[in-house]
């Protein structure tokens, strides 16, 4: 009985519940946080919209179609940012020695780090992504079938996993970079920016980096193409959007290797 799920998750639930409570307890400041967070989402959408204010089509997609790409990618990113975003604080933890405290607790380090916080304010930003997604799904001409519904669900889960993996990957790299934390921002936040674009406008080096190595094109763009029935670029097969789970698995392989190497470096005296 001691090994039931409830018992095993008790430590994590205790921390998360109290983090959530404490954020909501300062009502005024939580409201401001929610509003700013929503504004972030709105402005990110506006960045794309102003481009379509000038042209009808970019990379073969119209604005209504891009809404679907943006909605998928931004919803997944916001949810990952809410639950994994504080992995970015690792350099601070390393400098202050807070990480050593995690070593003194009987849980795996990565799980402790991930469950050490949750940023509820990012729900507001996720809401922007969700609205964009719903509008995108409604205004576009989608030949709905059970497969379409399934792919939508697969894409959301995989996209969330990919962005979450990116945060963990970056966390592992922080053990080596410490001061150079911004280097990983290029790929985590750069990845988010890339994920909301029509990837058909990329050149080959960008495809190599954000298409496959960090598989950002699989979070929104490629699944959206299949949903819309639009042909994939670079001569990729039609069903490439269905490979999102593979891309997510690959991201997590990278994430865990990076984390493992980072921790080994830390215990080996990087601190």
């Amino acid at each position: 009985m001691a090994d039931s799920l409830g018992a095993r998750t008790r430590p994590y639930r205790a921390v998360l519940a109290s983090r959530a409570r404490s954020q909501r307890s300062y009502r005024a400041s939580f409201a401001v946080d929610l509003a700013s967070s929503m504004l972030v989402g709105v402005i990110e959408l506006a960045e794309i919209w102003v481009l379509f204010h000038n042209v009808v089509e970019l990379g073969g997609l119209e604005f209504s179609q891009i809404l679907l790409v943006f909605g998928l990618a931004d919803l997944c990113f916001s949810l990952a940012d809410m639950t994994f975003g504080h992995c970015d604080n690792l350099p601070t933890y390393l400098r202050a020695g807070t990480l050593d405290v995690f070593y003194l607790r009987p849980q795996p380090l990565l799980l402790q780090l991930v469950t050490s916080d949750i940023s509820l304010r990012r729900l507001a930003r996720a809401a922007v992504g969700a609205v964009a997604l719903v509008v995108g799904l409604t205004v576009n001409d989608i030949a709905w079938s059970p497969a379409h519904v399934l792919l939508l669900l697969v894409a959301i889960v995989s996209g969330y996993a990919m962005f979450a993996g990116m945060f963990v990957w970056a966390g592992g790299a922080q053990f080596f970079l410490v001061e150079g934390a911004e280097t990983t921002n290029a790929f985590v936040y750069g990845g988010r920016y890339a994920a909301t674009q029509p990837a058909s406008v990329w050149n080959r080096p960008l495809w190599a980096v954000f298409g496959f190595f960090f598989p950002m094109a699989f979070t929104g763009f490629l699944p959206a193409l299949w949903l819309l029935g639009v042909e994939a670029p670079l001569g990729l097969p039609d069903w490439v959007g269905w490979c999102a789970p593979v891309a997510a698995a690959w991201t997590w392989v990278m994430a865990l290797v990076s984390w493992r190497l980072g921790v080994r470096h830390y215990q080996g005296g990087g601190g």
């Binding site: 008790r10 639930r13 607790r105």
Partner: protein, 318 residues
Amino acid sequence: MTEPIIETTGLTREFKVRDGLKRRTVLAVDDLTLRIEPGEAVGYIGANGAGKSTTIKMLTGILVPTQGSVTTCGLRPVQDRRRLARQVGVVFGQRSQLWWDLPVRESFRILAAIHDLSAAAEKERTDELVERLEMAEFLGTPVRQLSLGQRMRAEMAAALLHSPRLVILDEPTIGLDVLSKQRLREFLVAERRTHGTTLLLTTHDMGDVERLCDRILVIDRGRLAYDGDLPGLSRTVGAERVLVVDLAESIEDLTGIPGTRHLGSEGHGLRQRLAFDAEATTAARVLASVSERAEVLDLTVEEPDIEDVVRRIYAARR
């Protein structure tokens, strides 16, 4: 013979440091072999950078040794870190394990969940700690609003909540006022008496060592420089104690008393300070000699300063 609670053999830890463009290797802990039995209270002292923190990090599985072996509570700290965490409690004077924006009580609740204490065990242990560390008045206060003394008491309770067999304290009394120090020391003595807890503490405060420890380890540049009790330590280094006497009348400097050195006088000789070697004479004998010259109104004996002891040990080894 019982199993030791800490055992190290040839424990060594190197660090590579960048010195400009060159890299060189620094030995933080060098061939350390020691054995600590359950129930002991050990003071681990040494200058800054002597290797104390590195040792503690290896004992708790935060750092991997370069060479040698270490077992803590019969476990391998790195491989068995999670099992070890249930048996060890650590108080870092400088880094907090509490949640700064939460009330103290809430931090305890989370820690109880982390260590998977049953509701009954949680209540019993929390009540015990709250009473002994006199924390009732600030249980509802967020950690960031606590005074340093209050915070250290809460930190102590946080580290001991899961009733660890081994408690490691890194500078537990640093920056505290006399009263707070006293309270923490009394608590640790009582904790040891009731639960048989093993204590290992690093400190710069001789008072901590005197009141809490029955064994002292001195570390010098990563090597063990002394292992024994406090009187033995004073003997080894010949550290002097100082007798301070307040006299009824002002007299000349108290020079020429056997086994003593006159350190100074205040108030025209009303208060005088004499250093004496505990090996050569005793406080009583010195006092008797002083009383022959003038009436003694009050006296205090100052213990050797820990930094001084460490300095002397280091000097003797070089």
